[in-house]
């Protein structure tokens, strides 16, 4: 090394002297913006080094954080995943409890609204295996004093009636079943008819003459003449109408969600429910309104009642049409 330097000493000296003078020049010369050349060079030389250093530290840090520092991440990930699953289950449970609480609250509210009526809350535990049959099974039966032809409702509206009673369960025939018939009338005009099921999701209202002017959304309530449901319980609303022979064809949109029933109320008697109480107690339960009892108009038009025939007919039979 020393020999090599001694051999090339003149050349090394030349390089040193020239470099020293270049630096001397760089100290004197100013570039744009009055920046000395030596500073310009220093920045130009050092900036890439700094950039490289930053990149290197960043890369090393990234590798450290991305790989080495993640040694326990798999285990932690598994633990968190398990915790998320537990929390998800817990959340579903709570949501279910909340929904149930709301439903029960609505039932309770309805019961409180009508203390004069004898009623019993029940839970839907099953449905019919026959797709053309619209029936349900509830968790109340003979032991709970349930009998055939008792009305089943929800705070939203009429659901159906009990057709079979077993020791601890009962079968409910929904109003949209083809064998079902409920004495009904229009809340506004008090025109009578019968709401009958046809096997479709939406029942029909029969025995309404073509001259009767109806509007979509018009409320249909129980007439009480079938001796099953008290008077003025909301059944549904008029969905659409079409002229027919000899009566109009009226599709009814049920007020109760017949496809999503979970909790219902069984009316143990046919005692009339007072609309006055409904108005008072409808407010306290948030989110659960829709009193099923439609207010009575001041004047009741005198009209023939085809639903009376429905009330006299056995359960599951529809009265003969009036011509």
């Amino acid at each position: 090394m020393i020999d090599t330097f001694s051999r090339h000493r003149p050349l090394a000296l030349l390089a040193g002297v020239v470099l020293a003078q270049v630096l001397l020049l760089a100290f004197q010369i100013k570039r744009e913006n009055n920046v000395r050349l030596v500073r310009y060079w220093a920045v130009e030389i050092l900036t890439p080094l700094e950039r490289a250093g930053t990149w290197m530290f960043s890369s090393v840090g990234g590798v450290w954080r991305g790989y080495f520092a993640l040694r326990d991440t798999r285990a932690e990930n598994e633990r968190l995943r398990s915790e998320v699953e537990k929390l998800r289950l817990r959340n579903n449970e709570l949501e279910s409890q909340t929904a149930e609480s709301q439903r029960l609250s609505a039932l309770l509210s309805f019961h409180d609204t009508h203390p004069e009526a004898s009623m019993l809350a029940a839970q839907v535990i099953g449905a019919s295996a026959d797709p053309t049959s619209h029936t349900l099974f509830i968790n109340r039966g003979e032991r709970d004093r349930l009998r055939r032809n008792m009305g089943v409702i929800t705070p939203d509206g009429v659901v159906g009636k009990i057709v079979e009673v077993f020791p601890s369960t009962a079968q409910v025939l929904l109003i949209n079943d083809k064998d079902s018939g409920v004495g009904a009338l229009f809340a506004a005009s008090r025109t009578h008819g019968v709401v009958k099921g046809s096997g479709d999701p939406e029942p029909h209202m029969d025995y309404v003459v073509n001259e009767e002017k109806l509007q979509g959304g018009e409320a249909i309530v129980t007439s009480g003449e079938d001796r099953i449901f008290p008077k003025d319980l909301l059944i549904g609303t008029v969905d659409n109408t079409a002229p027919g022979y000899p009566f109009q064809s009226i599709r009814v949109k049920p007020a109760a969600r017949l496809d999503r029933l979970e909790d219902v109320i069984v009316l143990l008697s046919q005692q009339d429910l007072l609309p006055k109480k409904t108005e008072e107690a409808a407010a306290p339960v948030p989110g659960i309104v829709t009193p099923p009892i439609a207010p009575k108009p001041a004047a009741l038009p005198a009209q023939a009642s085809p639903a009376a025939a429905a009330s006299k007919a056995p359960v599951g039979q529809s009265p003969a049409p009036h011509n």
């Binding site: 050349l11 000296l13 002297v17 003078q21 270049v22 001397l24 020049l25 760089a26 010369i29």
Partner: protein, 177 residues
């Protein structure tokens, strides 16, 4: 300085190294610088000759020691920069350092006593010196100076011719062995 000028004097023992009386080199270099500055007052013709460059080449070739040559050239160049009013110090310094080094190296290898070889040597070194100067200006000063013009050619011929005469005069200052 005297030490530096003698450094390497024993590195090439087989080559004849010309020696001068004490203070000759120093005095000649100073005179060359003074004359260069002084003659500028008398018009454009004085710029045709680069006296400091001629002195650098002459003593570089005579001493035949690269270390001596580069230090001598560097010192003359820096002084020449110092005497100019607008050159940053180091422009001529770099050029003459390299010229001094090369002149010393070449002087040890070829005949530099014949007038024709001296003419050629000065001519070539003039353009080499100019090339380094232009390169430095372009790189450091961002000044696009030309590498070659007819004026430079004329300057180089005049300087080379004057160098032949000057070198013959300077030969008289050598110590007789």
């Amino acid at each position: 300085m005297a030490y530096m000028l003698n450094v390497g004097a024993h590195s090439e023992p087989n080559i004849e190294v010309h020696k001068y009386y004490g203070g000759t080199i120093l005095g000649t270099c100073l005179l060359a610088l003074v004359f260069q500055a002084f003659l500028h007052k008398y018009g454009r013709w004085a710029e045709l000759i680069d006296l400091p460059l001629l002195v650098t080449i002459y003593f570089g070739v005579s001493r035949r020691n690269p270390v001596t040559g580069l230090f001598l050239g560097g010192t003359i160049g820096i002084l020449q920069d110092a005497l100019s009013h607008d050159n940053p110090i180091g422009m001529y310094g770099i050029a003459k350092t390299i010229v001094g080094y090369l002149a010393s190296s070449i002087g040890a290898r070829i005949d530099t006593e014949h007038p024709l070889s001296r003419f050629g040597l000065v001519f070539l070194f003039f353009h080499f010196h100019q090339a380094i100067l232009v390169l430095t200006q372009r790189v450091l000063l961002n000044h696009p100076a030309p590498f070659f013009t007819l004026q430079l050619l004329l300057d180089s011929v005049v300087t080379a011719a004057f160098g032949v005469v000057l070198f013959a005069l300077l030969d008289r200052l050598r110590k007789r062995s």
